[in-house]
């Protein structure tokens, strides 16, 4: 990796970070807007919760009261959030951020793990199909991927649970019912990871994208030159044909995986952000669902940012236009 020419690169990355911050600000506005427009006065409740959620200096804030103007409410809420104060859950009364971080790790593991599963399955098929085209091997696999991508993930979950229950005598439903999974229980995280990894509905699209990109790169002029000079084709093709597309996939599929996590956590009764979100929607527990929405967006944007970092790292010769064209 050539670090010369850092200056323009640093400029590009700084711009990306700034845009991300701006987007997250937008996210907060959207979330605020949705709640503000909802019937009742959820924001008073929210702000009250923020103020009382274990934050010192109680009396001073009580004296201030809760502002009426929407922009004041928004700014107050935002200020609180930036300080880590997401308010208190209506249901439990506990600080939201605390609640979420208790279970957030499980969802993080679930999401990242299932992304790995999806890639583990998709990459070999895609690379094979890119090099060999559609043949007796790749075609059935591609068709199978289509079918798997259309399966409802909740049903798949039950099938897997049933198989494990009756073939192996394991009762995954019994686990993780309280608090973080500990010790041997972590092994059973594998089940929802595999289910979400296969059943998140993006498998066939991932395979297609990776296959198309690698196929396109393999027929590029510069790869032909590599072949002509007896160099390793992979060494020349992997950056544009593998790394960049995989980074694109990871960044763009995170939202799907987070959504899928909501469902999979339901099926497996897994304590995570997804199930918490479901409960919050049921109870209309605004602080919790807002906190989760914001954190999910943060997760998504972080993935996006990392993807742009990867792109710039791999392609130091890129100009700003090329980056925008590839990653917009």
């Amino acid at each position: 990796m050539n670090l010369k020419g850092v200056k323009p690169v640093a400029r590009v990355l700084a711009r990306e970070v700034a845009v991300t911050a701006l987007l997250l600000l937008g996210v907060s506005v959207v979330v605020f807007g949705i709640l503000y427009l909802s019937p009742g006065d959820p924001f008073s409740v929210l702000l009250e919760g923020q103020m009382t959620a274990g934050v010192p200096g109680l009396d001073v804030r009580e004296a201030l009261g809760i502002p009426k103007a929407w922009y004041a409410q928004y700014l107050l809420w935002l200020a609180g959030m930036l300080r880590g104060n997401f308010g208190a859950s209506i249901r439990t009364g506990l600080p939201v951020l605390e609640e979420i971080s208790r279970v957030g790790l499980n969802t993080l593991l679930l999401t990242l793990g299932s992304m790995a599963v999806t890639l583990l399955v998709a990459i070999p098929i895609a690379l094979y199909a890119a090099v060999r085209g559609l043949n007796r091997v790749s075609f059935p696999l591609t068709m199978a991927a289509y079918v798997v991508s259309a399966l409802p993930v909740f049903w798949l979950g039950y099938v897997v649970i049933y198989l494990f229950m009756h073939k192996l005598g394991i009762f995954p439903l019994a686990f993780g019912s309280s608090g973080a999974a500990r010790g041997p229980n972590r092994l059973y995280l594998l089940l929802p990871i595999v289910v979400l990894g296969l059943g998140n509905g993006t498998l066939s699209e991932v395979i297609r994208h990776l296959r198309e990109e690698m196929g396109r790169v393999l027929s590029e002029d510069y790869v032909r030159t590599a072949r002509a000079k007896g160099a390793s084709v992979w060494k020349h093709a992997y950056k544009e044909g593998f790394l960049i597309p995989v980074a694109e996939i990871v960044a763009s599929k995170i939202p799907f995986l987070l959504g899928g996590a909501v469902i999979v956590e339901q099926v497996f009764n897994w304590p995570g952000m997804g199930r918490m979100a479901w409960q919050a929607a049921l109870d209309r527990d605004f602080p919790v669902i807002m906190g989760i929405a914001v954190l999910a967006a943060v997760f998504v944007r972080t993935g996006s940012l990392l993807q742009r970092f990867v792109y710039v790292a791999v392609n130091p010769g890129a100009s700003r236009e090329t980056i925008e064209r590839r990653t917009a």
Partner: protein
Amino acid sequence: MRKRYVQAPGENGDSSGLRFFRKADAVDLLFVGYGLLIVALVAASYVAGVFRLLPHDPEALDLDLLLAPPGTAGHLLGTDFMGRDIFARLILGIQAYFLPGLLAIAVAIVPGAALGVLAGYREGRADTVITWFSNLVDSFPRLVLILLVVAAFKPDIYYIMVVAGLTNVPAAVSLVKGKIRFLKEKNFIEAAEGLGLPRRTIVLKHILWHHCRASLIIRATLGMGEAILVETSLSYLGFGVQEPTPSWGNMVQSGANYFLQGNFWPSTVPALAILLAILGFHLLGDGLNNLLERKAAY
């Protein structure tokens, strides 16, 4: 394994007519065929459901025949845990996503195409702003955003589908934008402007109708597939259509416990329906994409 290439002897090449089908992979035609079949079935079943042309009364409880497997007398696809006919409920379940799905598609494509044209045609600041909004919408996982809206408003399925449609606007925007960029590179737009064509004609007729129509239709089919996924997931979670109104999602959910006890069918039949339907829309979209968009060389 040898590949075989045959040129019809005596002739030196084929004349156009059949060329389209020759060029098309049999696979793509298969995809489109299956997809159209599904569309026909869904539409027909929707109509049947609206006019209550059902094989059985969907609300009739047959207490002697609980959880019957498919093929049982009088119940082609079996009964659920309350003895209700699954086939009839399956047909009714289409109503949960059909019109809402069309709404979602419209909400995605109309503003999406409009914004895409703005961003692609005007470029500059309009492009930057629209891209920023696209990225903003993309930052939310669809289901999480829907849960947020549900928590705030407890809306019915139509409003939820509007939200789902809005989350698809960025895809439509980037599609149209990409087309316009392509057309600009090929100087089509410059040429049209040079000929003095009014802007509205250029945009509506040349850009959208001629060049984007295929892609937008494809996007619409994929959008319907997504709508089915969203609605069934939501009703599985208990938020969409509520009992006793059937939805494929809540049918799977209500059969779930019985599944784990060994009664597979009440859950599996609607799950298979979801699978076949979503598969149909996906294959239709991909097949059409390969046939219409991928103009293969030669």
